[in-house]
Amino acid sequence: MTDTAQPIRAAACERVARALKDAGLEDTIREMPASTRTAEDAASACGCAVGQIVKSLVFRGKHSGRALLFLVAGDNRLDMKAAEALAGEPVSRPDAAYVRAETGFAIGGIPPLGHDRALKTYMDEDLLDYPLVHAAAGTPNSVFSVAPDALKTATSALSGPLKEAAA
């Protein structure tokens, strides 16, 4: 490959790239040689703190029936009570088929944007403490980097406390 050649990316990454472009964000998608499936994997691949990794967790609103997306800092566990308080409705954990159908992506590579249909999104306020965060770009070995406030704007997310208190 020459320096000018465009790498061929997975179709799932291309969908995230389109969403980044639409949001007016830079295409910072990188496909990694190693897995970025877990927050720890992604942090070591990116050489960043685990807290800078954005976990994209899909739940189902019990009242609205809609898929809801929670963006949680990699070192935090999502507190269900906090999630329900921010979403304003009880939520349940859906199965993988539901997640796939609602987002168009498989668990392990779910990005915070670029879904088949826009998801109502809630963001862990701890993510806003970092200058830059890294999120899955559609596959279990790709990430993109973005300023957290720009990600919040692009996803029309509501931010608030979402982390479980340390045990």
Binding site: A19, D22, A101, G104, R117, A118, L119, T121, S156
Partner: protein
């Protein structure tokens, strides 16, 4: 006139925004915009005559008559002027509303609007109107999006289910008779559009295969415009954030 089927969303007390879907659509097609604008606007969504939940309550009609039904709905809800976002046929409806009832329109954002020139892919519209074979429908839908855009299977299934009902196909067929003139579409008066008083902005994708973006050149001077590279006919779905940003700007400029 009876109000159209409608629904409120977004945040009450924020600037009022009316979303008007395109031919063969329904208010649910605005889901992405609804999520994007949730905290910026008091949204009002309608089903145009002959569409969705207005299919049986309102005779299937073209854009001019549909604009009257939209105006009657706004009047019914108190007559507060709104920002209008209209896609395709809904864009033509928004344009007519701005021309005929400027008292109801604070500004209009028209996405790949109908009626701005005669050219249209009539064959694609005819098939889209009545197709309920999943593969065939998925195939014709490809023309509505820029190449490479993924079309969610769930969307194809919903559209097919709607079209399995002969009453839907009949209503769509009636509306097409009002929209099309042979293999062209009826056009609005560019002179009257030029005399419209509300601010009007048009966004069009340069990869639009249904209504060519070259029709931007037909628009009168008072209409501001922008061409979106790599975007097809489904501007609200393919460039949701770009549309939301522009709408926020229009609202900020008007306040």
């Amino acid at each position: 006139m009876k109000p159209l089927a409608h629904r409120r969303a977004g945040t009450a007390g924020k600037p009022p925004v009316l979303l008007i879907h395109g031919f063969g659509g329904r208010m649910e097609t605005w889901l992405n915009m609804e999520v994007a604008l949730e905290r910026d606007a008091a949204l009002l969504l309608v089903d145009l005559p002959g569409h969705g939940r207005s299919r049986d309550s309102h005779e299937p009609v073209g854009a001019g008559q549909a604009a009257k039904a939209v105006a009657a709905t706004l009047d019914h809800l108190g007559g507060e002027p709104v920002f209008v976002v209209g896609h395709s046929m809904g864009g033509a409806v928004g344009a007519v509303l701005a021309m005929t009832r400027p008292d109801l329109v604070r500004g209009a954002l028209l996405l790949a609007p109908g009626g701005m020139g005669p050219e249209v892919d009539a064959a694609a519209l005819r098939q889209y109107a009545r197709e309920y074979d999943l593969d065939e429908l998925a195939r014709v839908l490809r023309r509505f999006y820029a190449p490479g855009t993924r079309i969610p299977r769930g969307l194809v299934e919903e559209l097919a289910r709607e079209r399995e009902d002969p009453a839907t196909r009949r209503a769509h067929g009636e509306i097409l008779l009002s929209i099309l003139k042979g293999d062209n579409q009826h056009t609005l008066s560019m002179q009257r559009l030029g005399e419209a008083t509300p601010p009007i902005h048009v966004m069009w994708g340069d990869a639009d295969e249904i209504i060519p973006s070259a029709q931007l050149a037909n628009l009168p001077e008072n209409v501001t415009r922008e061409l979106l590279p790599g975007i097809g006919h489904m501007v609200h779905l393919e460039a949701t954030q770009a549309v939301a940003r522009k709408l926020r700007t229009l609202i900020a400029e008007a306040v």
